[in-house]
């Protein structure tokens, strides 16, 4: 795609018109998904009431014609869940895009160098601790341990892989895999000794946005937004890295520094997301591929588009999960995303691209 502009490698992006179209459609997708998720649920609150409640809470206008429970449901249950879904979906899709470029590996997802395993070990440890839940910045002990576990793991993996001559991608991948396996063994050991807490442990590992509340997402969501905002402006470095590290260095990119910053920000977005939602698979792996098939590899467009479609997909998937009786949201993301990816792949293979 966009072969006509491949003259200057750093800016081989598609036309302005096409970018506007893709991003505009993305914004519309997120808006529609969010509106659908706020306006529908398992209880029978009328769409008119739901709209009136949101307007009333935002502006204070209008008479209150609905029961208090309807306001609680829309404002305290659905909205924080939608906000969490948007942030986590955007963060995962962004982090996935970054790792796929950084590691030059199509199978890379936000969890590839260990944050999921670290967060899982942290969360499961907290779940099994015989102490009362203590909160800090709105995060419970489980969320706090998950966040710290995810970040710490990436830090350890990166330090292990780092040598005199830089941080080779293969070493990073392998040490990430090894550390993940080690931590996962720890998680498995805890699972088999979890006794009556087993249901809580499994529930967390399957991932869900069901626990989202304003205080709980008050710390993680801003952190995710900051991380992906800082990632969005680093598209030049990512584009350069696509050409290979030595090429990127020739283009004047400080490859090691770029790697550190990108890994750090992606790990931050991922760990904060995992802390409030558990490990939700698929979004971070597939959304970047979907978007790349549609708009090409230029990160100036790829990053913001992935962010938007990741946010919309997760909100929509979570709505589906809610309406389907609370099934794990990861099942729904895969059910929606996988057939779509296969269709796009077939189309691009047939077109010989």
């Amino acid at each position: 795609m966009s072969a006509t502009t491949a003259v200057r490698p750093i800016a081989f992006g598609p036309s302005l018109g096409r970018s506007a179209l893709v991003l505009g459609a993305g914004v519309a997708f997120v808006a529609v998904a969010a509106a659908a998720a706020v306006l529908s649920g398992t209880s029978d609150i009328g769409i008119g009431d739901a709209v009136a409640i949101v307007l009333h809470r935002l502006t204070g206008i209008g008479p209150v014609t609905w029961p208090a429970s309807a306001e609680t449901i829309v404002w305290e249950l659905r909205l924080p869940r939608v906000a969490a879904g948007m942030a986590v979906g955007a963060g995962l899709a962004c982090a996935g895009t970054v790792f796929q470029a950084l590691l030059r590996n199509p199978m890379a997802d936000p969890y590839i160098i260990g944050p999921a395993a670290g967060a899982s070990l942290g969360a499961v440890t907290a779940l099994l601790l015989p102490v009362a839940t203590v909160g800090w910045l709105g995060l419970g002990l489980v969320q706090l341990f998950a966040f710290a576990g995810g970040l710490l793991t990436v830090l350890v993996v990166f330090s292990i892989a780092r040598g005199q001559a830089g941080t080779p991608v293969v070493t990073l991948l392998l040490s990430g895999y090894a550390v993940s396996s080690l931590l996962s063994a720890g998680v498995a050991l805890l699972i088999f000794n979890s006794g009556e807490r087993l249901a809580a442990v499994i529930g967390w590992l399957l991932g869900s946005l069901g626990g989202a509340s304003w205080p709980r997402i008050g710390f993680a969501v801003p952190l995710i937004v900051i991380s992906f905002s800082l990632l969005l402006v680093r598209w030049r470095g990512l584009n350069a890295l696509l050409l290979g590290e030595s090429q990127a260095a020739h283009l004047g990119v400080d490859v090691e520094r770029e790697k550190r910053i990108l890994t750090g920000l992606a790990a931050l977005a991922t760990s904060a997301g995992v802390a409030i939602s558990g490990t939700i698979g698929f979004v971070g792996l597939v959304v970047p591929h979907l978007v790349r098939l549609a708009v090409g590899p230029d990160h100036r467009l790829l990053l913001p588009a992935s962010l938007l479609y990741g946010a919309g997909l997760l909100v929509l998937a979570d709505l589906g999960a809610r309406l389907a009786g609370g099934i794990p949201v990861g099942i729904v993301t895969a059910l929606i995303g996988a057939p779509f990816l296969l269709w796009l792949l077939r189309r691009s293979v047939r077109a010989g691209r």
């Binding site: 209880s43 029961p67 429970s69 999921a116 626990g211």
Partner: protein, 333 residues
């Protein structure tokens, strides 16, 4: 997914989740508020008049300012207690697993496929929520209900005495204290009758099968409620570990003289005694068990009342005693 080896373990764990409800309490339950071992629910002295201060099975205190009129039950056992206290008409939300008394079928479900739909709970506008312990109502859901400021009592009885205490707790909450005392007195009398009937009988080593899968048998856990009921019903229970798991070798060593197939309550193919005997005989190692050699394998169809910690638990105890000592109940209790 390839980078997350732990996720591959999940399918293997599903059976464990299924039987977790039947397992013994391994340790004090850590809950949102933190608890010590088996806190007994208590009622403040001024029980009849509101406000009333209640302490639930998780050790949490709840003050009810007025008599609850809209009650949501998150467990079938809680529903049965409410209805046994003649307050069925106050229930505005139950689980999709509720089946007793029959009229609860008409009440809206707020727990579907074992998952609590918090939106439906809020929509029911409850002034009292009766939750379950041991993660049957997940801690995350309890925290969410607390954050929303909804009044919750957690009920998790692990002995007959705790069932009685929970009946009295709900009685105090719903201004049904005299009814609760009557019900508990009646249950105590019936338990005493069972104990008297089987008291001096031989106590056969009895395996109660909760679940069986690929060589692993789930039975009454060491120190579990079910094990205690089996003892009251005049058996020596063959117990598994804290989760109720007993391996093939331990089972052969324990050599049960009587096997009660609780699984027959849900698997019609086990309801016929002949078929049931052939089914278990085919399991490796089982053909040499005393119970199988003697044909003492009994399809047990009352698992629901035996494992549901509501007022009908005593029906379960009576059914167990009849299954273990049929000769003692020829005229029927």
């Amino acid at each position: 997914m390839a980078s997350r080896p732990s996720s591959r373990l999940l399918p293997l764990l599903v059976p464990l989740v299924l039987v977790a409800a039947c397992a013994a309490p391994a340790a004090p339950t850590p809950t949102a508020s933190g608890t010590d071992a088996a806190p007994s629910p208590s009622v403040a002295p001024s029980a009849a008049a509101y406000p009333v201060t209640l302490t639930d099975d998780a050790g949490r205190e709840l003050v009810l300012e007025s008599e609850p009129r809209r009650v949501v039950s998150l467990a079938p056992s809680n529903t049965e207690i409410v209805c046994a206290l003649d307050a069925c008409d106050r229930l505005v939300g139950v689980t999709d697993f509720d089946d007793f008394p029959p009229e609860v079928a008409d009440i809206d479900d707020v727990v579907i496929e074992a998952s609590v739909d918090v939106e439906l709970v809020v929509a029911a506008e409850p002034d009292l929520i009766l939750a379950a312990g041991n993660e049957l109502t997940p801690t995350a859901v309890l925290e969410q209900l607390d954050e929303l400021g909804l009044p919750v009592l957690v009920l998790y009885p692990e002995t007959l005495d705790e069932v009685y205490a929970d009946i009295q707790l709900i009685g105090a909450a719903l201004d049904r204290a005299p009814e609760a005392d009557d019900l508990v007195g009646d249950l105590e009398d019936r338990v005493a009758d069972v104990v008297a009937a089987v008291g001096d009988a031989e106590r056969p080593a009895t395996l109660y099968e909760v679940f069986y899968s690929e060589g692993t048998t789930y039975t009454a856990g060491e120190g579990s409620f079910l094990a205690a009921l089996l003892e009251l019903a005049g058996a020596t229970p063959v117990t598994g570990d804290a989760q109720g798991v007993i391996g093939a070798e331990e089972l052969v060593t324990a050599d049960p003289e009587l096997i009660l197939l609780g699984t027959a309550s849900y698997d019609p193919s086990l309801a016929d005694p002949e078929t049931a005997l052939e089914t278990v005989r085919a399991r490796s190692g089982w053909e040499d068990l005393s119970a199988v050699r003697d044909g003492a394998v009994v399809p047990y169809l009352d698992d629901i009342v035996t494992t549901r910690a509501g007022p009908r638990i005593v029906d379960g105890l009576e059914a167990l005693a009849r299954a273990i000592h049929p000769d003692r109940f020829e005229s029927g209790p």
